[in-house]
Symmetry: none
Subunit: 226 residues, 2 copies
Amino acid sequence: MAKILLAEDDINLGILLTDYLEAKGYRVVHLSDGKQALETFRTETFDLCLLDIMLPEIDGINLARKIRKIEKEIPFIFLTAKSLEKDKLEGFSAGADDYITKPFSMEELLYRIEAILRRTRSYTDEEPEEYKLGSFTFYPLTQVLESDEGPKKLTTKESELLRLLCKNKNEVLERNYALRTIWVDDNYFNARSMDVYITKLRKYLKGDPSISILNVHGKGYRLLCQ
Amino acid sequence: MAKILLAEDDINLGILLTDYLEAKGYRVVHLSDGKQALETFRTETFDLCLLDIMLPEIDGINLARKIRKIEKEIPFIFLTAKSLEKDKLEGFSAGADDYITKPFSMEELLYRIEAILRRTRSYTDEEPEEYKLGSFTFYPLTQVLESDEGPKKLTTKESELLRLLCKNKNEVLERNYALRTIWVDDNYFNARSMDVYITKLRKYLKGDPSISILNVHGKGYRLLCQ
DNA sequence: AAAACAAAGTTAAATTAAGTTAAAAAGCTC
DNA sequence: GAGCTTTTTAACTTAATTTAACTTTGTTTT
């Protein structure tokens, strides 16, 4: 299971988070200042960093920059008490993968952690070069969907959605899972946006009647194919 | 972390800058006149100089010229209260890497410092001699892109952009990161300029269909190659 | 089973991002 | 400072994504 570096100076919150995440099966190393966190990062390997923005010694954003220099691919989630836009911008420029404003629910945080680990793993884990879908072949890396008619270049969003459907071929891909993975945030508007993309994918795939994207009401979608 | 020489005679601003940059993890040595700054530069080593143009004893521009004689490669950023064009011109002729007009935000300054350090460091870090891109070979140091057709000399901007793409081969190179690294400032016009360079690079690389520069809408570019 | 509600589907418009090409401006070199 | 290259600006085009408005389908309530 994933190993998480938690840098949080509020001791109570830190312990709470550690206990919760450990209960969910993660390994958590909790440090209460930026300097210690950096030292720890140098000597151990982690899958994800959970950094408070306001930290003694080295603040979260600079800590992230330093960590990024050591390991380019590691994902960050920033925690912050203030919902200041400025922080948010700075955070993203330091390479934040996500951002959560205090107070937040443990469950919300867990969702985001899982979404990020899924995203980062999915590309580092061996990604299939191609998916066979009836008379179609989908190449997720190049974002191309090939049919008898010839190749069709997909947009990023189309391709990511089709990729998730393929990974869960013949099983239910949950709406929220997809939204969190592709759109990060599963709000109303992103959900509408996803509807539009489902329509587009159905249109692209309608050449072969053995392939279809079924809706499972209230749950998600099932990509059906032999 | 980088060590910065700050020459600023406005004591309040000097202290403010020193505190801010130290909080961001830099080591800062603050001097309030040109003579002291030069003396200090002779006895210690720095990674970057932040010089006010108006300084007692030796003004910022002449200070820069003297410092350049001691260390040829050191980057400068000039600070000035007046937005006088004349100053700007003189500053650049003295070898300024960047220029910031008071009043400026601390964040703005930080961005520029980071962009410059990235640029100057990236060349001292071990840079690959060549990148293999399908049937192309790109030599970042000599700025040459070689294909079956023969070698093509790239311009500085073309080469730097291709270099960043290569460094992030098969992953997303973020637009803003590239803009800040190559163009220093990620404003609208520089972004348009970068578009132009992407078009140029695509044209140069179109000889090999296995190589392509994919756009990831709202994020950046992905240099795709086997 | 009709009404009420919620979820999903469709289509088009609006918005924002990116692509292309040419011309203008800025930098060099001799 | 003429003649070159490089870079930026401009004008315009195309494309990706989101929003909106409206329709259909499924589920629950009474």
